[in-house]
């Protein structure tokens, strides 16, 4: 096979963040030959940056808490396009999965009775919205993601999982029968190109926040999995849905956890007014993120912003006192002092809504198996391909994710996929073969860059793409700007396809990795652009100036974007949970 | 200890070495203080009093302990220094040869000091050494 070194596994997991590690753990413990392939050493994955916690009805702060209430909040938060079978699964299995994490050693903060500490987060309620604010987010101070990721990595060390660290997955390999049989990857340390073959391939590559110029995401969040799927002919779902987190540090894009508002912090405008009381009289600063972000933008647009340019608002925490700040929010104390040069115990923090999370992604079943769609709009499983975590759209977040639900998503569905793949493997899946021509697509992308002799600098093109997405697809969206951006993206595609990789060295060539990441950013940006233009309504995080209202008649559905013909199709939302009655769409107020 | 070979440390246990190092340090420190203290209090000491003091039963036992402590303290200290700088990691394959040579050198000196020191304190005729 082309003299390519080939590695073979039963299960291949691409991505070593929370979802990938949870799935890897499940598979490694089952005894199947499992590898976790990651472009960074696992504990460098972006899960590490998650702060506030993992939302789950373990009934520690409130003994009466019920996973059904959590489910209600999540469905409402999703603006009713979250799949209710998946949400039901996540909320009901959640407690067990969180206890497993605790048993693995996750150092959760504790209540006085020694149970896991839970804090209030946005969009949380008791008794199906009737019982006031709930405290449902399990936290390890404000470093929950760090604690979770390290705990999972440690569990994998214990389970002897094989890690391919600092391997960059270039593309999926699909054989003639449409089965995914592994990936072509570059071992970054040597530059060697390897075919990593596997009976089952699971994408857990995380998000793509780097399509925006201002994002809380790590520099490595370039949507590699989404782009790989799109290039392999797998569609992506609801990719227009991008969450803007209300409290990114102004000018830095660094996140200040929603937990800071959960602990009692609030937002003020230049008049010192606690403006969220006007927009969300009940939940106030703990309304869901889309609502808070929009309110902040309106405040700034109407001239009530803070600072010399009146372009941000303030997050006030000083009234919480140093004890709460140091014991519950020590991580953000450190971040604010370092990056905003502000001591939250004394001064308010300048914040702006900042790109934070990709609700969309590869459509999957609850088992993690990737889905495509046939001509009759029936779901068709993609053989050999699974996806979990931010890269997937199972979909539990719909049009707007609730804080603390992403970590739960990672571990619940990482585990579910692990269990399912274990099942599938035990029924005896044979390794399908791949021909040279199946590998060709992936290899040609590498050689395209390798053979480039001149052209534009990838870093400049990346900056241009990010600025374009930032100006055209942020909190509020207009038809005119989106149309313009779509044509600019077409132009960018031509330029990126003829861009120049100057450094062609073999050993740890990060320029090559970044060039391929640029390809991926472009795929995600274009999918976002077309899907956002196509969804002619406002729902959750997708707020259009020209279509201000939610349109349940036409758009109470998922969007499904296919890259081959750049088409946008619709896919039905699941309204059939198996235990509880479905939650019907109603007006969404906080 | 799978990865750690420590055939030539004094006690083969890091903890024992650690404790011996500390205890011997305290003995040596106190002994030094006794001598310096005596000399400060008696600046014009003559030889008789000096030898009397040093070989009084308490000081003789103390001195013997101090010399033994010196041997222990010096060996552990010098062994540590040797294994820091004369390691396979830094010198390659031949490190163990150089380390052995160094350790033999240290052992010879330590023994010489030990016998010499005990001989003086216990006022043994030089011929016995």
């Amino acid at each position: 096979m082309k003299n390519l070194r080939t590695l073979e596994f039963d299960g291949l997991i691409v991505g070593g963040g929370g979802a990938g590690l949870r799935a890897g753990l499940q598979l490694a413990e089952s005894g199947y030959k499992t590898a976790v392939l990651s472009k960074v050493f696992p504990t460098r994955s972006h899960t590490v940056s998650a702060q506030g916690g993992i939302t789950c009805a373990i009934a520690s702060e409130d003994p009466d808490d019920d996973w059904r209430w959590h489910m209600y909040d999540t469905v409402k938060g999703s603006d009713y396009i979250g799949d209710q079978d998946a949400i039901e699964y996540m909320c009901s299995v959640g407690p067990q999965v969180v206890y497993e994490l605790e048993h693995m050693g996750l150092p959760f903060s504790r209540t006085e009775s020694g149970r896991i500490y839970q804090r209030p987060f946005g969009g949380q309620s008791k008794d199906f919205g009737r019982g006031g604010q709930a405290s449902r987010t399990c936290a390890a101070e404000d470093r929950t993601g760090h604690a979770l990721l390290h705990t999972l990595y440690q569990a994998n060390v214990k389970a002897n999982t094989t890690f391919l660290s600092e391997w960059f997955a270039v593309d999926l390999v699909t054989n003639q029968d449409g089965t995914v049989v592994g990936v072509v990857a570059i071992f970054v340390e040597t530059g060697e190109i390897v075919f990593v073959k596997s009976k089952v391939t699971l994408l857990a590559t995380g998000g793509a926040g780097r399509i925006y110029d201002s994002t809380t995401n790590a520099l490595t969040n370039t949507g590699d999995g989404v782009a790989m799927a799109l290039r392999a002919g797998v569609p992506v779902q609801d990719i227009e849905m991008w969450q803007f987190h209300p409290t990114g540090i102004h000018g830095m894009g660094i996140l200040v956890t929603e937990g800071s508002r959960g602990e009692g912090g609030y937002l003020v405008n230049c008049d010192g007014e606690r403006f969220m009381e006007r927009y969300a009289p009940t939940a106030k600063d703990l309304a869901s993120r889309d609502v808070v972000s929009r309110s902040m933008v309106i405040e700034v647009d109407e001239g009530r912003g803070c600072g010399p340019n009146k372009d941000h608002v303030y997050l006030k925490l000083d009234h919480l006192g140093t004890e709460v700040l140091n014991s519950r929010l020590s991580g953000i104390m450190e971040l604010c002092k370092t990056y905003a040069l502000v001591d939250p115990a004394v001064d308010p923090i300048p914040v702006v809504p900042t790109c934070h999370y990709m609700m969309g992604g590869i459509a999957t079943q609850v088992s993690g198996q990737a889905l495509s769609q046939d001509e009759q709009t029936n779901d068709v499983p993609v053989q050999g391909l699974y996806a979990v975590g931010e890269v997937a759209c199972v979909s539990v977040h719909g049009a707007n994710r609730l804080g603390g639900n992403s970590l739960l998503d990672l571990v619940v569905f990482g585990r579910a996929a692990g269990l399912h793949i274990q099942d599938v493997l035990s029924q005896g899946v044979s390794q399908r073969s791949a021909s040279d021509s199946d590998l060709e697509a992936a290899l040609s992308r590498i050689s395209r860059w390798e053979n480039s002799q001149s052209g534009e600098n990838p870093a400049d093109l990346r900056a241009e793409l990010q600025a374009l997405m930032g100006s055209s697809y942020s909190v509020f969206r207009t038809e005119e700007k989106m149309r313009d951006a779509i044509s600019k993206l077409e132009d960018l595609r031509t330029r990126i396809e003829s861009a120049f990789l100057e450094d062609k060295s073999e050993v740890f060539n990060t320029a090559r990795v970044e060039a391929m990441e640029l390809d991926n950013l472009l795929e995600v940006a274009e999918a976002t652009a077309i899907a956002a233009e196509g969804r002619r309504e406002s729902r959750g995080a997708h707020a259009r100036v020209d279509f201000e209202n939610r349109d349940d008649e036409n758009w109470l559905c998922h969007s499904l974007y296919f890259a081959e013909d750049r088409s946008l199709r619709k896919r039905a939302v699941n309204f059939a949970p198996s235990i509880v009655e479905p939650f019907e769409p109603t007006k969404r107020e906080y | 200890m799978d990865l750690v070979v420590n055939a030539t440390s004094l006690s083969r246990s890091g903890l024992s070495d650690f404790l011996l190092q500390r205890v011997s340090a305290v003995v040596l420190g106190l002994y030094a203080l006794c001598i310096v203290g005596f000399l400060i209090v008696n600046p014009d000491v003559d030889q008789i009093r000096w030898v009397q003091y040093m070989t009084s039963p308490v000081m003789l036992i103390f001195g013997t302990l101090a010399i033994l402590s010196f041997a222990v303290h010096a060996w552990i200290g010098m062994w540590t220094v040797g294994t820091d700088y004369l390691s396979e990691h830094k010198m390659g394959k031949h490190a163990s040869f150089w380390r052995l040579l160094y350790q033999v050198f240290v052992v010879v000196i330590v023994f010489t000091y030990l016998l010499f020191g005990l001989g003086i304190l216990w006022r043994l005729p030089a011929i016995l050494l």
């Binding site: - | 420190g29 030094a32 003559d46 000096w50 010098m78 000091y113 003086i120």
Partner: protein, 125 residues
């Protein structure tokens, strides 16, 4: 190929904080004392000889070279002693924080310097 990899360990290009200097000096003084102990033993031996030897020793110690060697040895001893006390205190969990570590190091340097001066006073005055 792996063996050919360079290692950056240019000690002149790495900033070492004060506690590191104190620790290295502790080691250096220890090795030097190991060698200087022969000198101390010889002093002890001659002080245990007959009365003439003892007086001769007292006389000798007045010479510039002899007294300088004695002073240097005592200074090394004081330093090693003081830095050793710091080690023992740290074993007892005293002075473990970065700030305390710095203060402790400064104290070690000051105290041992003072002792060294006192040794000089004692020998020469």
């Amino acid at each position: 190929m792996k063996d050919a990899r360079p290692v950056f360990l240019d000690l002149l290009a790495i900033r070492l904080p004060l506690p590191a200097a104190v620790s290295i000096l502790h080691r250096v003084s220890g090795v030097l004392l190991f060698l200087a102990s022969l000198y101390l033993l010889i002093l002890l031996a001659s002080s245990f000889g007959n009365e003439t030897e003892f007086d001769q020793l007292k006389w000798d110690l007045g010479s510039p070279i002899h007294s300088t060697i004695l002073w240097a040895t005592l200074s090394l001893l004081s330093y090693h002693f003081v830095a050793g006390v710091r080690h023992l205190l740290m074993d007892l969990h005293i002075g473990e924080s970065l700030k305390a570590g710095r203060i402790g190091s400064v104290l070690v340097l000051i105290v041992s310097l003072v002792l060294s001066v006192l040794c000089g006073v004692w020998i020469w005055l």
